[in-house]
Symmetry: C2
Subunit: 143 residues, 2 copies
DNA sequence: TTTGAAATTGATAAACCGTCTCAAGAGGAT
DNA sequence: ATCCTCTTGAGACGGTTTATCAATTTCAAA
C-alpha cells in the first residue's frame, strides 16, 4: 500500500514550477531522506550506496539543496558538519547538540524568540534569520 | 610612553607556561589585534603585509589561534567567514550581524542565557558552549 | 658573550568540503 | 517515437585552514 506522500507532491509541484524533472534519483533520495530527522550528505551517500552504488555524491548534494529550495529540507551547520534537517512536518526550531554522542535534540522556545526580537529592535535591527545552538553533554554521556 | 599592556602580560604568562617564545611577530600581531573588535585572519594579513618584514599567512593563523588558547581571542564563525573576537576586555556576549554592510553588534542578554539553561536542563543536557547569532539589516541598511 | 637545543617562521603542499564542468544519458511534451 | 532540455556521475576545481620542512630566531645556560 504505497500511500501518496505529501512531500512527494511538494517536490513535484516545485519541479513543475521550475521546469525541472522528476528523476529516479530524486525519488530515491527523497524517500530515504524522509526517514531521517537530520542527516549529512556524506551519510546519505553511504546509506544509498548500498542500494544504488552509482549515485554520485554530487547528485546527493544537488538533490538535498533542491529539497531546501522546495522547503522540504534546511541546511544546518553544526560545528564542522552540515546536517540537512527534514523540516517537512515541523515549524521553526533550534537545537541542542551532544558533544559526546552527536545526538541532536530539537526545541522551540517562544520566549527566547521574543527576547531575540527585543534585542534586535533595541539595536535598530530587523532580524532575517538567526542561529541558536546549545552544545553540551546529554544525560547518557555524563553517565 | 609605551604603557604596559595587560594583554601582553597575559600572552607572556601563557608562553612561559607552555615553553613558547615571545617573537617579534607575536608582539606585532598582538598589538595590531588589540586595535580591533573583530577581524578575520585574511584582513589581519593584509593589514600587516604592508608593514615591517613580511608576515606569512600561516603565521597569522597560528598566532591568532595561540591568542585563542591564551584567552585573548575567540574564533567566531559568522556565515562563511571566521572572525577573531578580541575578548581581552569583555565577558560573554552574542552578536547581531548586518547582512547588508557586515556590521557586527555585540549584546548580552542574561534572560536569554537563563532560558537556554532552562531548555538544556529540561532535556537532560548540561551546556558547554552555545552559539547565538542574529542576522538581519541594521537601520542604515534599511534606509 | 657565545653557544646550542628547541621553538618559530614563511613558502608551499595538502586536507577538507562542497560546487562546477562536461560529455553521456534520461525525462517528458508533443 | 522524437527531440529538446534537464540531469547525472566522475573528477576537476576553489576557498579556507592546517601540515610540512628547511632556514632562522629565541633564550637559557655556560
Ligand atoms: Mn532540526
Ligand atoms: Mn564579539
Ligand atoms: Zn550524548
Ligand atoms: Zn548594515
Amino acid at each position: 500500500m504505497n500511500k501518496t506522500l505529501k512531500e512527494m507532491d511538494v517536490l513535484r509541484q516545485h519541479l513543475e514550477k521550475h521546469q525541472l524533472k522528476l528523476t529516479r534519483q530524486r525519488e530515491l533520495i527523497l524517500t530515504a531522506f524522509l526517514r531521517q530527522e537530520h542527516i549529512t550528505a556524506e551519510a546519505m551517500y553511504h546509506q544509498l550506496a548500498k542500494k544504488d552504488p552509482h549515485l554520485g555524491l554530487a547528485t546527493i548534494y544537488r538533490t538535498l539543496n533542491l529539497f531546501c529550495e522546495a522547503g522540504i529540507a534546511q541546511a544546518r551547520h553544526f560545528g564542522t558538519q552540515t546536517q540537512y534537517d527534514n523540516i517537512s512536518h515541523k515549524g521553526h526550531h533550534d537545537h541542542l547538540i551532544c558533544t559526546g554522542c552527536g545526538t541532536i535534540v530539537e526545541f522551540e522556545n517562544c520566549e527566547i524568540e521574543r527576547l531575540q526580537e527585543e534585542v534586535a529592535t533595541k539595536n535598530g535591527f530587523v532580524i532575517q534569520t538567526h542561529r541558536l545552538e546549545l552544545y553540551g553533554l546529554c544525560s547518557r554521556c555524563r553517565h
